[in-house]
């Protein structure tokens, strides 16, 4: 089997995987803004596409390592032939599962799919012993931690907004007065992530306290610029002024989720692809190879194309179905989901935006902000989350059996 064919196959499958991610997960970030008519679907597609690419290229490299060799031990991956077959079957298995799930409207996570298919390959390659159970446990823990963390965060955020703004005499005036805070904290987390995790921070070799104070200072400035723009663009006699303020901020938080998503989810497609790339190019993989930026860019473009080609339908479904999410609630959900994903991504845990968003929605619900939330459905969702891993693993095992003799 000529190596170029394998490489092309790897790129195609990696592209298919990132396309799937774009078609599915991007609705998480943009739907609330689209549903609240803050932006049009077309604008959302452009924003999500661009920011996913930016997120993937500048912040994405950290998580990729976890997927690439966290779950399955390096011994197996050291065998070039095995690693090649494994990466390809994992990519295809995860993509197929997501496509199937999309078709069936099943709530699954792209991150779970790739983790599951990696496990399936690991088992086929050399039995259960090869699985890094500690790492897997960490992944499983993140399934519980990220929704709960997002839930607590959005609960607090919504209660805070209600107490500070909504329940007061003049909510609009207060919303404007406190807007630097809300704009600022959104910027703060974004800036921190840029400084901590990107080549930007490494180049300037900024220390943690330095980064914190820099982010704080910039957030402060951006917060007040944000206030200035809000005052300028929202007429003071707007009857729905409070929601309008948060509608504008929500566009910002949506961008922030899109960025976080690009950083986190690109790993699902690019992790295995990077493996294939290095195997074909160098014949082996070292203990720690930096993922080249052009692979991340490739994944980002795949995600962006997925959004552009299939994102609209999904986005409209969420945007129109979650009618109970107003802009203030949407802000709380977006903020908590994005922060959760960012923090988890910094810790190197492969979390899914879906979990964080579900947690965020629940948090707003617990705060009494949504007319009615069905808590019972959570059990079902969790069941699907758990099912994804064995399903992807089984498909991957099957594909491994087919691909092994061919390659």
């Amino acid at each position: 089997m000529p190596e170029t064919v394998v490489l092309i196959a790897g790129f195609l499958l990696g592209f298919y995987m990132s396309w799937n991610i774009g078609a599915n997960d991007v609705a998480n970030s943009m739907a609330s803004a689209v549903g609240a008519k803050a932006i049009t679907v077309r604008q959302a597609v452009v924003i999500a596409g661009v920011l996913n690419i930016v997120g993937a290229v500048f912040i994405g490299s950290h998580v990729t390592q976890t997927i690439r060799k966290g779950i399955v031990s390096t011994e197996v991956l050291a065998d070039p032939h095995m690693a090649l077959v494994g990466a390809l079957s994992a990519l295809l298995a995860a993509s197929l599962w997501i496509s199937f799930a999309t078709w069936r409207s099943l709530p699954v996570s792209t991150t779970h799919s790739i983790v599951g298919s990696m496990i399936g390959f690991g088992i086929m390659a050399s039995g259960f012993s090869v699985i890094n159970w500690g790492k897997l446990g960490q992944v499983v823990a993140s399934w519980v931690i990220s929704p709960v963390f997002a839930m607590v965060l959005s609960f607090l955020m919504f209660k805070f907004i209600v107490g500070l703004i909504l329940s007061r005499e003049d909510p609009f005036e207060r919303a404007i007065r406190w807007s630097p805070l809300f704009v600022g904290i959104a910027f703060f987390v974004v800036l921190l992530c840029f400084l901590f995790k990107t080549p930007l921070g490494k180049t300037f070799s900024i220390s943690t306290p330095m980064a914190l104070s820099l982010a704080f200072g910039l957030a402060l400035i951006f917060g007040f610029i944000g206030k200035f723009l809000l005052v300028k663009f929202i007429p003071s006699d707007n009857p729905d002024g409070t929601e309008e303020v948060f509608r504008k901020i929500q566009i910002g938080t949506s961008c922030y989720v899109a960025l976080a998503q690009g950083a986190n989810d690109v790993a699902n497609a690019i992790g295995p692809l990077a493996l294939v790339y290095f195997l074909v190019k160098d014949g082996n993989v070292g203990a720690s190879l930096p993922v080249p930026w052009f692979l991340l860019l490739f994944g980002g473009i795949g995600i962006a194309l997925g959004v552009a080609m299939a994102g609209e339908r999904v986005m409209k479904t969420i945007g129109e179905k979650i009618t109970t999410l107003t802009n203030t609630r949407g802000f709380a959900v977006d903020f908590s989901a994005a922060t959760t994903v960012m923090v988890a991504s910094k810790m190197g845990l492969p979390v899914s935006t879906t979990h964080a968003a579900v947690g965020g929605v629940l948090g707003v619900g617990f705060a009494g902000g949504v007319d009615a939330v069905n808590v019972g459905i959570i059990g079902k969702i969790v069941l699907y989350w758990v099912l994804t891993v064995p399903a992807a693993a089984l498909t991957s095992m099957f594909l491994f059996l087919i691909l092994e003799p061919i390659l």
Binding site: N24, L166, S167, T242, I322, T324, T354, A357, D371, A372
Partner: protein, 222 residues
Amino acid sequence: MRIPFSSLFVTSPFEGLQEHAEKVKECAWAYQQGIECYVTDKCESFEKFRHEVIRLEHEADAIKRRVRGHLPKNTMLPVSKFLIFRYIREQDCVLDSVKDSLNWLSYRPQNAIPKELEKDFFLLVDSVVTPIEELSAMVQEAREYFSTFSEKQRIKAKEIIATMRSLEHEADICEDRLNRKIFTCDADPITVMHLLKLTEITGSIADHAENAGDMMRAMLAK
């Protein structure tokens, strides 16, 4: 993929409450027309309005069942589920009393209301219909509060409830006055007995509306 989000939300009970309140309001209108017909036209189209009310009551029942049916055990609400059930029951009682009032009237198709009592009876009917009309406005304002948490909105809803309370008090006065007149008027015992019961049922319409207001007040409490 998107199913978790959409199924996270069950049908909002407040939507149902409002729909139900609109039905009650429609009923109040038919009720008033029916009474007018009974007294002036001497039962020409009274039956038509009575059946209209019965039909509306059936529709409202369906809404009530739907609200109850869509609040399974795991549903989480901004207010106590128990209060919502109590509220919709009271709102439904308003409808039932309207229906009972017309039914009771239909048992005596002719001359159930002596001429000298007509005016007072009209006054009583008017005084019980006004709180019903306030009901749907109250639900609307309360619903607005649950979506914005604005203190202003809460006060608006509370003001309507206070208005309903005072309207109920006025209805009580009308009922009392009518009762007194029934005993002083010159009528046969059957008419008196029929009238007394009619007054009681009609007066209870306002009572149920006030109770519904009290339930809503409990939901609005912080």
